[in-house]
């Protein structure tokens, strides 16, 4: 009944024809055979003659796979480094705290996957079986999939243009044996480009329950976040609310609070008001959050008394209410 009858080989993200030129756009690229790097390449003719792509054949397979997933939530932010992956992981851990709830985390940041490190499973590998690629399990009811599990070493760079990234995202949705899930949380890279368009298009039929938009308080971040919200509206993704990270820093020495990233234009609160969105909450900057992420442990479990934990949990509670799962 599942999408694949035989084991789907796990791709080597670094594979290119062995005789490819230095800037080979990749055989899957729209530029395959046409880029300047292709001139003189032995494969040029084969690449250039590939037939144009019709309607995406993976869509029905994705629909079937995703029919077992109750809620699909995207974690977005226009800006990088605001804490998307950290929030995704906390969300995963918080959902999975209920042992009857099955949660999956999908990392579509192909060039900078952080989820394996943050979940403490950086050295794991993906295995292929008859029912698809097995995700990596953090605990019985929390699984994850990331390109990070497919690289021979953490230092390897995935130098892919859009089309190949899109191809892998489609495979994450159709070839991964997620099983029956209550929540699938999708962590995205910064920006509004291939990955975002692909996930929106590929999940359109199955339905995305909504997106959580993460920001930090300074205007440079808010600018990008406004663009991300504009993107959500353009493609018809419901924004569940805004999370403000790194809001205020409490000095461990004098307990005085200061603003590292000043909300010079009113921060996330003002942004949420201006764009008629709900501010789900503000999480203060606690250096132990970053440290927990580096060590791959759950911040919520390690530091249950931190004000940041209280903030995270209240945000997650509110999210469940909005989704009608409270």
């Amino acid at each position: 009944m599942l999408a694949t009858q035989t084991a789907v080989p796990i791709p080597d993200p670094l594979s290119r024809p062995s005789n490819a030129p230095e800037h080979c756009p990749g055989v899957e690229s729209e530029f395959a055979g046409k880029s300047s790097a292709c001139e003189g390449c032995a494969n040029q003719e084969i690449c250039a003659s590939s037939t144009p792509k019709g309607p995406d054949p993976s869509l029905p397979l994705i629909r079937e796979r995703m029919s077992n997933v109750k809620r699909k939530i995207l974690v977005l932010s226009g800006k990088g480094g605001v804490g998307k992956s950290t929030f995704t992981a906390q969300l995963g851990w918080a959902f999975a705290a209920d042992e009857d709830v099955q949660t999956g985390i999908m990392d579509v940041d192909i060039c900078g996957p952080s989820i394996p490190t943050i979940l403490g499973i950086a050295n794991e590998q993906v295995h292929a079986s008859r029912s698809g690629w097995s995700p990596v399990y953090v605990q019985d009811n929390l699984s994850a999939m990331s390109v990070g599990f497919m690289l021979p070493s953490a230092r390897d760079a995935v130098m892919w243009r859009g089309p190949k990234k899109n191809g892998l995202i489609a495979q994450f949705l159709k070839d991964v044996d997620w099983g029956v899930l209550d929540y699938l949380v999708v962590d995205t890279p910064p920006g509004t480009s291939d990955e975002h368009l692909s996930i929106a298009q590929l999940l359109k039929d199955s339905g995305i329950d909504g997106a959580v938009v993460v920001t930090t308080p300074q205007e440079v971040a808010l600018q990008d976040v406004r663009r991300e919200i504009d993107f959500c509206r353009k493609v018809g993704i419901r924004v569940l609310g805004v999370v403000e990270n790194m809001a205020g820093f409490v000095c461990p020495n004098c307990k005085g609070e200061s603003q590292i990233f000043k909300p010079s234009t009113g921060g996330a609160k003002r942004l949420a008001e201006d764009m008629s969105l709900e501010l789900l909450g503000s999480v203060p900057l606690d250096p132990r959050i970053g440290k927990s992420a580096d060590y791959g442990v759950s911040f919520l479990d390690e530091y249950p008394d931190s004000p940041a934990t209280t903030a995270y949990l209240s945000i997650i509670r509110r999210l469940k209410e909005i989704l009608g799962d409270a």
């Binding site: 729209e30 530029f31 300047s36 790097a37 226009g78 800006k79 990088g80 480094g81 605001v82 192909i110 060039c111 900078g112 952080s114 490190t117 943050i118 953490a154 230092r155 390897d156 760079a157 130098m159 892919w160 243009r161 859009g162 089309p163 890279p189 910064p190 920006g191 509004t192 480009s193 291939d194 975002h196 368009l197 930090t216 205007e219 440079v220 971040a221 990008d224 663009r227 991300e228 504009d230 993107f231 353009k234 820093f249 000095c251 461990p252 020495n253 004098c254 005085g256 200061s258 603003q259 590292i260 990233f261 000043k262 010079s264 234009t265 250096p287 970053g290 440290k291 992420a293 580096d294």
Partner: protein
């Protein structure tokens, strides 16, 4: 390197640019744009005649206009190509170009897949009237994807003084991505001038205690194991964050004649920050190392 580079529009423009530095980082939000802005300001201040350009190829998240106080400016068309926006007004020694200058409304999202981004980058390199530049600083989005490959594809065949700087924070997650970035530069034969560790410690304004908000020391350690020069650690400087975040277009920019010498508002304010002093050393090393590239 070909002896006679092909006469593409990109080649014709880049012929007049002495050094090109690409600012990279695997991870987002580590301070690429703020390092790019600081690099441009410091290079501008490094000599009374230095001519500097900043190209922002973060097409879906351009931050350079705001950081240099140029939000709301537009690009003009001239018979010789697009006129960049000058941060220093009439002296015209600090030229900027960003997709942010092309948007009608700041909050418009640029929702583009790779091929359109590639075309835009080609236009930025071929159609912008940079004129003679000593330095072109290129700010990039995070990752190692379309924008980075396009830059290299267009520039490497026609310019031989191309180099890069890798920005990271001390956190393991950022260092892991910085390593990927380094692998990228090796794969495409792009010289690395060095690694900058950003957000290395934060000084509490109340008690002066240094907190390693995002850990510390990882950048230097990585530079050592990877045998790449370490350019320096920059602590979190709230004055700089505020300056780069709130730098509103200054009325004086339109009429720089009223100002003394070549200084302009953003540069004046920047030079008062503690980061500017630290960055001066970074730029000293950068200029030295750069002269050996190519």
């Amino acid at each position: 390197m070909p002896t006679h580079p092909p006469q593409t529009p990109v080649a014709r423009r880049l012929k007049h640019i002495k050094h090109i530095v690409i600012v990279l980082s695997g991870k987002g939000g580590v301070g690429k744009s703020s390092v790019s802005a600081q690099l441009a300001l410091s290079l501008h201040a490094s000599s009374p005649t230095a001519r500097v350009g900043v190209l922002d190829v973060d097409l879906t998240g351009p931050s350079i206009p705001r950081m240099l106080g140029l939000d709301g400016h537009g690009v003009h068309q001239s018979s010789d190509g697009w006129v960049p926006v000058y941060a220093d007004g009439r002296s015209a020694r600090l030229a900027c170009m960003s997709v942010g200058f092309l948007l009608k409304r700041r909050e418009d999202s640029v929702v583009w897949r790779g091929p359109k981004k590639n075309a835009m980058i080609r236009q930025f390199l071929g159609d912008v009237r940079w004129g003679e530049l000593d330095y072109l600083v290129i700010d990039t989005p995070p990752g190692t994807s379309d924008e980075h490959l396009s830059l290299l594809e267009h520039m490497a065949p026609v310019h031989d003084r191309l180099s890069s700087i890798i920005v990271t924070t001390p956190q393991a997650v950022a260092l892991a991505d910085a390593l990927k970035c380094l692998s990228f530069t090796r794969a495409v034969n792009l010289p690395v001038l060095g690694i900058i560790e950003n957000m290395s410690g934060y000084v509490c304004p109340c008690c002066g205690e240094i907190s390693n908000v995002f850990s510390t020391g990882g950048g230097a350690a990585m530079a050592e194991t990877e045998r790449v020069p370490f350019l320096g650690s920059l602590p979190v400087d709230t004055d700089l964050v505020t300056l780069l975040d709130a730098a509103e277009p200054d009325a004086g920019i339109e009429e720089p004649a009223e100002r003394e010498g070549d200084a302009f508002a953003v540069l004046e304010r920047y030079q008062k920050t503690s980061s500017a002093k630290l960055f001066k050393d970074v730029v000293g090393t950068v200029i030295q190392t750069m002269s050996r590239v190519g």
